[in-house]
Every structure is written in structure tokens, then in C-alpha cells.
């Protein structure tokens, strides 16, 4: 399928070794501006290493990662990363947590306040603005993190199994919330998951990774119309196709 959007993220020949252990093996792909890309692979295939190399939390052994055709630089490029672990700051209130990224980026106070209010409303946490993370449930914590990430209006949003620890109902709700935010802000999203259904539900394109050393097994375009119905035939067919690709049993 022809995609006329311009390239946002370009990964070329990304390789990562830990001593002699080859974890990422010559990975190359492109993400378009405003695209929702899902990356799936078997558990332990090195998905997180892949994302950490992408963000330079790990230094790649070789290869190049470009954003807007420039080498990725966390201080220059506006990237947000949502971890699997809850990463709210326990000493800040919900409101302060949502505004944390804006403070870091020295956004003027009045503008930051407006953004915080806006995103608190989007994730439905206005009533809890003065609560501390210890007082919130798991799904609320993850919504705070999502609001914090979107409030900075990132060029690229990286998500590493953000809903891995939530039950199925909460996961569905937060997935819909995420899609709403993505459609609203046209953010480029790279979403890593081992949950195939989640990848088919969210992604415009799915990259299926191989077992270690990790490479790209297949790239699948997902044209199923939104809102997607997980019980519809096209959904189930695609889910089965992806499942067959990562099957190790």
C-alpha cells in the first residue's frame, strides 16, 4: 500500500551485542509521520533491548537511528517513553506528574498549566489532580503516565508493553483512550507488545520480530477499519496470521 506520509524514524542496520551475545541483528525499518506501528515478538526476543537501543538508553553496537533525518538526540528530539513499570514520581501529585515533562522542557507556567488541565481531562483524572500516586489504582497510574507523555506533545511516542500488568477490561479501556489521543494529536507511536490481539487492535502496521538474535521476520499492513471488532472475521484472520508467524510451540 502506498503511504505518502514522510519518514519520521529511520532505523538502518541496527545491531546490538552484549559482549559476544548478539541480541539485535541488523534491523532496518522506517516509521512514517503520525503512524501507529506495533512491534510483536515472542517473549524474551529482545523487544525491550530493541526499544532501549532505539532511544540510546543502550548504545547500539552499530547502525543508525534517525529522526527527521538527524541522529536521535534525547535533548533535541521530543520523544516520550512509556515503560511497562509505573514511572510516576511518588512525591508529585497527579497534576504535578502530568506537568513533569513540561517543567523539564521549561515550558512557560501558564501554558503548562493549560496543557496539564487539558490532558487531565482527556484521561479523566481531573478529580484526582491533588492525589499522590500511592493513592491511585494501577490503571490510574498508567493514565497519569500516558497524560504526562502526551502533554509534551512528543514527535515520537515509544511504548513498551505499557498495559502488560493490567487486567483485560482496563487494557481495552486504555487502548481506546490511547487511540483517541493518537487520532487527536497525530503522534508517531511505536508500540511494543507480546500481546498479538493488542497489536492487531492498535497498529496500522505490525512488525513481527524473530527469536534471538532479533531480526524482522515480517512486516504486515493492517487496514482493518476502526473501530475494530476483535470478533470480526478479518480481525481474527490477521490475529491468526501474526500468531502463526511468532509461534514457537
Amino acid at each position: 500500500m502506498e503511504d505518502n506520509r514522510k519518514d519520521k524514524v529511520k532505523v538502518t542496520h541496527l545491531t546490538k551485542k552484549f559482549d559476544d551475545l548478539l541480541v539485535l541483528d541488523d534491523i532496518s525499518f522506517t516509521v512514517k509521520e503520525g503512524e501507529f506501528l506495533c512491534i510483536v515478538g515472542p517473549t524474551g526476543c529482545g523487544k525491550t533491548t530493541f526499544l532501549n537501543s532505539l532511544t540510546k538508553l543502550y548504545k547500539p553496537t552499530s547502525g543508525e537511528i534517525l529522526i527527521n533525518d538527524e541522529p536521535v538526540d534525547l535533548l533535541r528530539h521530543n520523544i516520550a517513553y512509556i515503560f511497562q513499570e509505573y514511572s510516576t514520581m511518588p512525591w508529585l501529585t497527579v497534576e504535578e506528574n502530568v506537568g513533569f515533562g513540561l517543567d523539564i522542557k521549561n515550558i512557560p507556567k501558564s501554558e503548562a498549566k493549560e496543557k496539564v488541565n487539558e490532558y487531565l481531562q482527556v484521561v479523566g483524572l481531573e478529580k484526582y489532580r491533588n492525589y499522590y500516586p500511592d493513592q491511585l489504582s494501577a490503571s490510574m497510574l498508567q493514565r497519569v503516565v500516558i497524560a504526562r507523555a502526551f502533554a509534551t506533545e512528543p514527535e515520537v511516542l515509544l511504548m513498551d508493553e505499557p498495559y502488560g500488568q493490567l487486567d483485560i477490561e482496563l487494557r481495552f479501556r486504555l487502548e481506546d483512550e490511547l487511540l483517541k489521543l493518537w487520532e487527536r494529536n497525530k503522534t508517531t507511536v511505536i508500540f511494543i507488545t507480546h500481546n498479538i490481539e493488542e497489536a492487531v487492535y492498535l497498529g496500522e502496521r505490525i512488525l513481527v520480530l524473530t527469536n534471538k538474535p532479533t531480526g524482522i521476520k515480517k512486516e504486515i499492513y493492517n487496514n482493518i477499519q476502526r473501530p475494530r471488532n476483535i470478533a470480526a472475521k478479518d480481525f481474527v484472520d490477521l490475529r491468526n496470521e501474526v500468531t502463526d508467524l511468532i509461534k514457537w510451540w
Binding site: 532511544t55 538508553l57 534525547l74 535533548l75 521530543n78 520523544i79 516520550a80 517513553y81 515503560f83 513499570e85 509505573y86 514511572s87 514520581m89 511518588p90 512525591w91 508529585l92 501529585t93 513533569f100 515533562g101 517543567d103 523539564i104 522542557k105 492525589y131 499522590y132 500516586p133 500511592d134 493513592q135 503516565v145 504526562r148 509534551t152 515509544l158
Partner: protein, 262 residues
């Protein structure tokens, strides 16, 4: 409010009062009706002398001045140890180089009790207040340093990663993540240190002094005045209790986030 409800609501206060009252009654009975009375003055006598000491001087001064002077010494030493302890703890916790250079020296000095420093402190700082500050300082410093070090070392790496990903500089990571997340550890250290400092005051006031609650005990020991010793101990216990409670309250206020939870 019914009696049962009142008791349920105030159970911990009631138990504390009962525990203290039982201790005092047992103490009183033992000292009045057994031979232990030769070495243990009755609680009522100590309480009476303690109250009286606010009007009648012991030595040159009344109890308020003794407490005030000791508080001043502990206050100055505690303040200095807070500044240096936090600075050293943070440096060792945050910088591998500082840890490699300073930690072995710190670990070498840490086990030496403050009292062992008395002769050297007189030699270095003379007989005035400076040597007393130094001894109390040593009593507080290690607790603050160790706790701050642990706090800085145990910062959740996910939070540092999250801040870096949001574009935080090294300085922002330090001030916005490392320091605030160490605060509960630092406060725990300060709470132990304020009690330890108040304990070290007795040793410090052994060094040529004419006033202070430590001096009351030292002089009581020199002249065999058991009641004065126990009055001094009571003063240390009470002031220490007030300081520790104050610190705990301050911690609850400043680290409200650490005391929440549904």
C-alpha cells in the same frame, strides 16, 4: 460518645499513659519498699526535684538554662552535620568516583565512637564550645551520611529513565529525581541523628563545662548525687522525646506523599 467508643478511638494514647503510669508505680514501690531504694531514688522525688530545678538553680543555673545551653550545642552540631552529611552521602551515592575515594575513609571513621574523640577534640578545638560541637557533630554525622547515601543509591532507575526520556539534563535528573526520592531516607537519618546528637551531649559536656544537661549528670556522678543524675536523665529523655516527635511531624508534613495510601 460512649466510653467504649472513646476507648477505641484513643486506645494508643490510653495504652501509652497506662504503660508510663505502671512503670512509675512499680519504680516508686521498688525504691520505697526494697533495698534497691539505696541505689534508685523514688520516682516521686525525682519528679519533685525536676520541677523544682526550674526555680532553684543546680550549680549556677536553673534547668531551663541547662536545657537551653545543651539545645544550642546540639542545634549547631546537628545543623552542621546535616549539611556535611547530606553533601557527603549524596556525593558517594551519586558519583562512583566520589564513592571510590570517600567511602573507605568514611567506613574507617564510622565505627569510632564519638567519646573516643574527646582527647583529640580538646587538643584540636580547646575546652570551649567548639570541641563540644565536634563531638556531637560526630554523633549525628554518620547516621545522616549513611541514610542519604542509601537513599541516593536506591533511586528507582525507571524514574531516572523516564526523566531522561523526557529530555532531562544531568542536573535536572539530580535535582528533580535523585534528591526528592532520597528525602524519606534523609529524614529517617535526621530522626536517628537528632536522638544520637542529644545522647552525645553527655559525652560532650564532660569536657570542661559549667552548664548543660550532660554537665548535670557528670557532676552528679562526680559528687555521688544520684537524684541529680536522674533529673539530668529525665531532662535528656523528655527533650529527646520532644525533638524526635517534632522531627516525625515535620517528616509527615514534608513527605506527605510517603505517608499516603488507600
Amino acid at each position: 460518645m460512649s466510653l467504649k467508643k472513646f476507648v477505641d478511638k484513643n486506645i494508643s494514647i490510653i495504652m501509652t499513659v497506662l504503660a508510663f503510669a505502671s512503670l512509675l508505680i512499680v519504680w516508686e514501690l521498688v525504691s520505697r519498699f526494697t533495698k534497691a531504694g539505696l541505689f534508685l531514688p523514688p520516682a516521686s522525688l525525682i519528679l519533685e526535684k525536676f520541677i523544682l530545678s526550674f526555680k532553684e538553680p543546680i550549680g549556677k543555673y536553673t534547668m531551663l538554662t541547662h536545657i537551653g545551653v545543651s539545645l544550642y550545642r546540639v542545634g549547631v552540631a546537628f545543623g552542621l552535620s546535616t549539611v556535611f552529611g547530606i553533601a557527603l552521602g549524596v556525593s558517594m551515592g551519586y558519583s562512583k568516583l566520589a564513592e571510590a575515594i570517600l567511602k573507605p575513609i568514611f567506613e574507617f571513621i564510622r565505627p569510632i565512637p564519638p567519646l573516643a574523640w574527646i582527647p583529640m577534640s580538646i587538643l584540636w578545638f580547646g575546652l570551649g564550645d567548639k570541641s563540644k560541637f565536634f563531638i556531637i557533630f560526630l554523633g549525628c554525622f554518620c547516621f545522616i551520611t549513611v541514610n542519604t547515601y542509601e537513599g541516593t543509591k536506591n533511586v528507582d532507575k525507571t524514574l531516572i529513565g523516564a526523566a531522561r526520556m523526557l529530555g532531562a539534563s544531568e542536573r535536572q535528573v539530580f535535582f528533580d529525581i535523585v534528591l526528592p526520592s532520597s528525602v524519606p531516607y534523609i529524614f529517617a537519618g535526621l530522626q536517628i541523628a537528632v536522638t544520637a546528637g542529644w545522647s552525645a551531649v553527655v559525652g560532650a559536656e564532660m569536657v570542661h563545662s559549667n552548664e548543660g544537661v550532660g554537665w548535670l549528670i557528670v557532676m552528679g556522678m562526680t559528687y555521688g548525687k544520684t537524684v541529680q543524675i536522674m533529673v539530668g536523665m529525665l531532662a535528656i529523655g523528655l527533650v529527646g522525646f520532644v525533638l524526635a516527635t517534632g522531627m516525625a511531624k515535620l517528616e509527615r508534613r514534608l513527605c506527605a506523599w510517603n505517608n499516603q495510601g488507600m
